[in-house]
């Protein structure tokens, strides 16, 4: 008979035990009668011989060895019964726990999916990403030629592949529409270890200039444009004006640094930036390590290769290193710290929830003290009582945990959609066994936390006094424990409240900062030029000019301009500059942000003109090369003398005349710009771009339009004007500058929202906790208060007595919490951009709010205490 058998067939076992004992007694009686005893005597003797039948059975039960399980089962049912008896208590405790555990589980689910789970590729730990590294330790995308050299030279990296963003218009089959795409080298899929759904990946012979136009399309594009037909392989897809032959289809759901629908060979790209080793046209590199090679070995080899390249091509590669890091870190990016921070915050809420439930349980345990003492008197061991209390805690915790997991299952998706800018790997976030295990663990640990307090207070000594005193006195240790709870809750709430307060102040301060331009009524969009224009640089220039001219004559448009880079839009372009005719050694010139713009850009963005002029239509190739710089660069490059009219040498462009000084634009966002390593800005007229770069601009330029009416209402008009005569000329990524600017504060806003919710919950729970504890403590003191009042204490005295008691707890908790908040503040300063070290006023305001709320929570029980009727109270005694 197995142990579960014994457990589940308990009743049968009991019945058999009873039968066995009865049989024994009956047989013995029969024998005794046969030996000549009277039936009555025989029965008495048999009974004597066997002892008490109940004791005997109890000993037999003990002998079975499954006693602990039976006890557990009994405790479990007892716990359920006591919970059912007090449904109010059960609901409050369960909801509190469900909230705490649910929120913690949501955070863990996200962390599990994003940070902990291995990437969904075979042997994901062998995958790395590579960057070029300038002397300042930044990470730059590769230059194409450097990538090719690394790919051929490296021994430690078995296969290396590169890719680059390339969006464009797909015009056939189906209607013209913009799609996201990538240019990739041969071997991207084999490096990742992902087989294509159909077809093959690019051959090395296709990944070179002049190779046949072939493309790999996404499963999604295959479904939407080819209706999933088998004939898609070998069919043509027209992308950016070129007819590509489809050779492969990616598996459904394939994500390669976000969604992409079309892949073309990188080697066929003939833009001039591809053949210039000093250019870094956004080429990302991944690799798969050889099985026995460690990351450190690969890093060592790549550093060596970087030194060789620098020696061979000092002009482009001097001082450049190459960094190798796990691909997962590249994909996950910088959300790691935010996620752990949120888990930390949510754990505090859970702790408060636990403390609350513990104090509820303790209050109940104290009123059950007599029951427990009675059970000890009847022979229950201390271990047995502790076990029972812990079982009650565990039952509560597991039920709360189950509710919490249900909440988390509902809450994870909405949470992800709130994540600013989209969370990497969000598709892989799901409730799996790890999450369930985590939730169970959290539930059990919390159950232990709040079950332990009442368990340890289970009475063992001085039973008699407990039994006699009844439930009306509060022992010192119980009061100390309760005050401890209140202090812990206040301390945790203070930390969360101050963190939320700091975030709120930061957000307010950042929102009030001047971005350096006027974002209202500005529409920005990317433009995919018609494929017909791409044949010659002159056509591209004309196409751009046409778009601007058409927009100028559109009602509702104030001004329109093109820009290479949209401030706060996430892209940057850097260029080396110097101020004397002699160029500094390679890669040692200072860098500044570059923006290529048309003359009206300053008018569209309302950037302040501090001196000189902005560009005109006359600033074009063949005229004197001119630039405008911002005041930050003027101060840095020309300290103490006149920048206006001076000459500035730019890499690729040569000497330029500074004709205008404009105000600084917070390019990296309201929060991050002050601390950005590179802030100085240079504007160059778009018309001064050499011809060989013209084709490149067809994909990279953005349109900016200042409107006189709400900008989004102009969307259709702008779309039509841009299309003009070319049906495949379209705009995409349409945003208003207001959205862009406010988007830069999304991380802070998101954190504030969450911390606000957590802090609010913490405050609410702490107040409920304080109320509960004080209500309990004062209700236990009713007779004492009665005596005090009978002896002449006024209602005011009593009120003050109770409030004083809570003030001491609140003050102690707040003091501890302030220390914690100071540490949390330092952490936040590191993690959130634009965060200032803790301000005193935040501390003061938040503490005041908390103390007020806590006092309010304690006022209600205090008032009730002050209205005690002394006669009634004394009669109770």
């Amino acid at each position: 008979m197995s142990w579960w058998h014994r457990l589940w067939r308990r009743e049968e076992m009991e019945e058999q035990l009873d039968k066995e004992v009865c049989f024994h007694v009956d047989e013995q009686i029969a024998d005794l009668i046969a030996q000549g005893h009277t039936p009555g005597e025989a029965r008495r003797m048999a009974r004597l011989a066997i002892g008490g039948p109940e004791q005997l059975k109890e000993e037999c039960r003990d002998a079975r060895g499954t006693r602990w399980l039976e006890d557990l089962w009994q405790d479990f049912r007892y716990a359920l019964r006591t919970l059912r008896q007090r449904p109010g208590f059960a609901v409050v405790a369960l909801l509190t726990l469900a909230l705490g555990i649910g929120a913690t589980t949501v955070m863990f689910t996200v962390i599990n999916g994003v940070l902990l789970k291995p990437l969904a590729y075979p042997h994901p730990d062998r995958l790395v990403s590579l960057h070029e590294q300038p002397a300042n330790g930044d990470e730059w995308p590769f230059s194409y030629l450097n990538f090719r050299d690394c790919q051929h030279t490296s021994l430690s990296i078995a296969s290396m592949a590169a890719w680059k963003n390339r969006g464009g218009t797909v015009s056939a089959p189906g209607d013209a529409g913009y799609v996201d795409g990538r240019e990739i080298t041969a071997g991207v899929f084999s490096t990742l270890g992902i087989p294509l759904d159909r077809g093959r990946e690019f051959l090395p012979s296709e990944d070179r200039p002049g190779g046949p136009p072939v493309a790999i399309i996404s499963y999604h594009l295959w479904q939407s444009r080819f209706a999933g037909g088998a004939g898609a392989i070998g069919a043509h897809v027209v992308f950016s004006g070129t007819a590509y032959t489809v050779v492969g289809i990616t598996p459904p759901g394939f994500q390669f640094f976000a969604d992409a629908d079309i892949f073309t060979p990188l080697g066929q790209n003939t833009e001039p930036t591809m053949t210039d080793r000093a250019m870094h046209p956004g080429i990302n590199v991944i690799g798969r390590l050889r099985p026995e090679v460690t990351l450190a070995q690969a890093q060592a080899e790549m550093s060596l290769i970087a030194r060789q390249l620098a020696a061979q091509y000092p002009k482009a590669d001097a001082g450049r290193g190459i960094s190798v890091k796990p691909l997962r870190r590249e994909i996950v990016g910088d959300v790691r710290s935010t996620l752990w921070l949120l888990l930390g915050a949510v754990t505090m809420v859970l702790l408060i929830a636990c403390v609350n439930v513990a104090s509820l349980l303790l209050a109940r345990a104290a009123s059950r003290e007599r029951e427990l003492a009675m059970r000890v008197a009847l022979g229950a061991g201390r271990g047995r009582l502790v076990r029972q209390c812990l079982t009650e805690g565990a039952v509560l915790a597991v039920c709360g945990g189950a509710l919490g997991v249900a909440l988390a299952a509902l809450g994870v998706r909405p949470f992800l959609t709130f994540w600013p800018g989209g969370l990497p790997r969000s598709g892989e976030v799901e409730l799996d066994w790890r999450v369930l295990l985590f939730a169970l663990g959290v539930a059990l640990v919390s159950g232990l936390l709040f079950g332990l307090a009442p368990a340890l207070r289970a009475p063992v000594r001085e039973l008699e006094s407990v039994l006699r005193a009844g439930a009306r006195t509060v022992t010192g240790s119980s009061r100390r424990l309760h005050s401890g709870f209140v202090m812990a809750e206040i301390a945790l709430a203070v930390v969360l409240l101050i963190a939320a307060g700091m975030l709120g102040r930061t957000l307010l301060r950042l929102s009030s900062l001047d971005p350096g331009f006027n974002p209202h009524n500005v529409l920005v969009a990317r433009v995919a030029l018609s494929s017909d224009t791409l044949s010659s640089p002159e056509h591209v220039r004309v196409a751009w000019q046409d778009i601007i001219d058409r927009l100028h004559h559109t009602p509702g448009v104030d001004s329109a301009a093109l820009a290479d880079i949209i401030p706060m839009g996430g892209d940057t372009e850097e260029i080396a500059y110097w101020t004397t005719p002699t160029a500094p050694p390679p890669n040692q010139a200072p860098m500044a942000l570059l923006n290529l713009v048309t003359p009206d850009y300053q008018r569209v963005m309302r950037i302040r003109l501090l001196g000189g002029r902005f560009f005109t239509d006359q600033d074009r190739i063949g005229r004197e090369p001119v630039v405008a710089i911002d005041d930050a660069l003027a101060k840095r490059a020309f300290p103490g003398h006149q920048a206006l009219g001076s000459r500035l040498w730019l890499q690729f462009f040569g000497p330029m005349r500074i004709v205008g000084i404009v105000g600084h634009v917070r390019h990296f966002g309201l929060g991050a710009d002050d601390t950005a390593g590179l802030r100085e800005q240079i504007y160059v007229p778009f018309a001064m771009m050499p011809d060989e770069f013209m084709r490149l601009t067809a994909a990279s330029m953005s349109l900016t339009v200042r409107t006189t009416v709400p900008p989004l209402s102009m969307l259709e008009a702008v779309r039509q004007q841009v299309r003009g005569q070319a049906p495949d000329q379209a705009i995409h990524e349409v945003r208003t500058m207001d959205q862009v600017v406010s988007g830069t504060l999304d991380p802070q806003r998101f954190l504030l929202l969450l911390f606000g919710i957590f802090a609010g919950l913490a405050l609410l729970l702490a107040c409920i906790g304080i109320y509960g504890v004080l209500a309990y403590l004062t209700s236990q003191r009713v007779p004492e208060i009665g005596v005090r009042m009978a002896l002449g204490a006024t209602a005011g005295n009593v009120l003050w007595m109770v409030l004083r008691q809570s003030l001491v707890m609140i003050a102690a908790g707040a003091a501890v919490g302030l220390g914690g908040a100071f540490a949390a503040g330092r952490l936040l300063t590191h993690l959130v951009s634009g965060m200032r070290p803790t301000e005193l006023s935040t501390f003061t305001v938040v503490t005041a709010v908390l103390v007020a709320a806590a006092l309010f929570a304690s006022y209600l029980p205090a008032r009730r205490a002050s209205r005690v009727d002394p006669v009634g109270a004394l009669r109770q005694e």
């Binding site: 039968k19 066995e20 024998d31 011989a49 002892g51 000993e59 002998a63 079975r64 499954t66």
Partner: protein, 114 residues
């Protein structure tokens, strides 16, 4: 109430195993047989017989079936499992060794060794 067994620790289990080894038998019969065979020297306190039986059953040294007795009543008949038989053999051997050793010590003549 009967005092606790005067049997040395662990002997009761051994005796029960031995009696059961002779064939399936119920609890009352075990008590009777022990008493008869030992010529009333061993009084099995019934308060310890049944817990011992249940313990041995839990340790899988004994197995039990419900069968009818000669008088037509259902009773729980214990029988020896293979594990029980092995335990009986090794326990018997070690008991005999112990008994011999005790006998040797008690047989020592006063006045010391030769």
């Amino acid at each position: 109430m009967a005092a606790k067994s005067d049997l040395p620790q662990g002997t009761l289990d051994l005796l029960i195993l031995k009696v059961v080894a002779l064939g399936p038998v119920h609890g009352y019969a075990i008590a009777q047989r022990l008493q008869q065979v030992s010529r009333d020297v061993v009084q099995v306190p019934q308060g310890s017989l049944y817990p011992a039986l249940h313990r041995l059953e839990y340790r899988s040294l004994l197995a039990a079936d419900w069968k009818e007795t000669g008088t037509g009543r259902e009773a729980k008949f214990y029988r020896l499992t293979r594990k029980g038989r092995e335990a009986l053999e090794s326990e018997t051997a070690s008991w005999q060794r112990l008994a011999e050793a005790v006998g040797l010590i008690l047989g020592l003549s006063e006045g010391g060794a030769q």
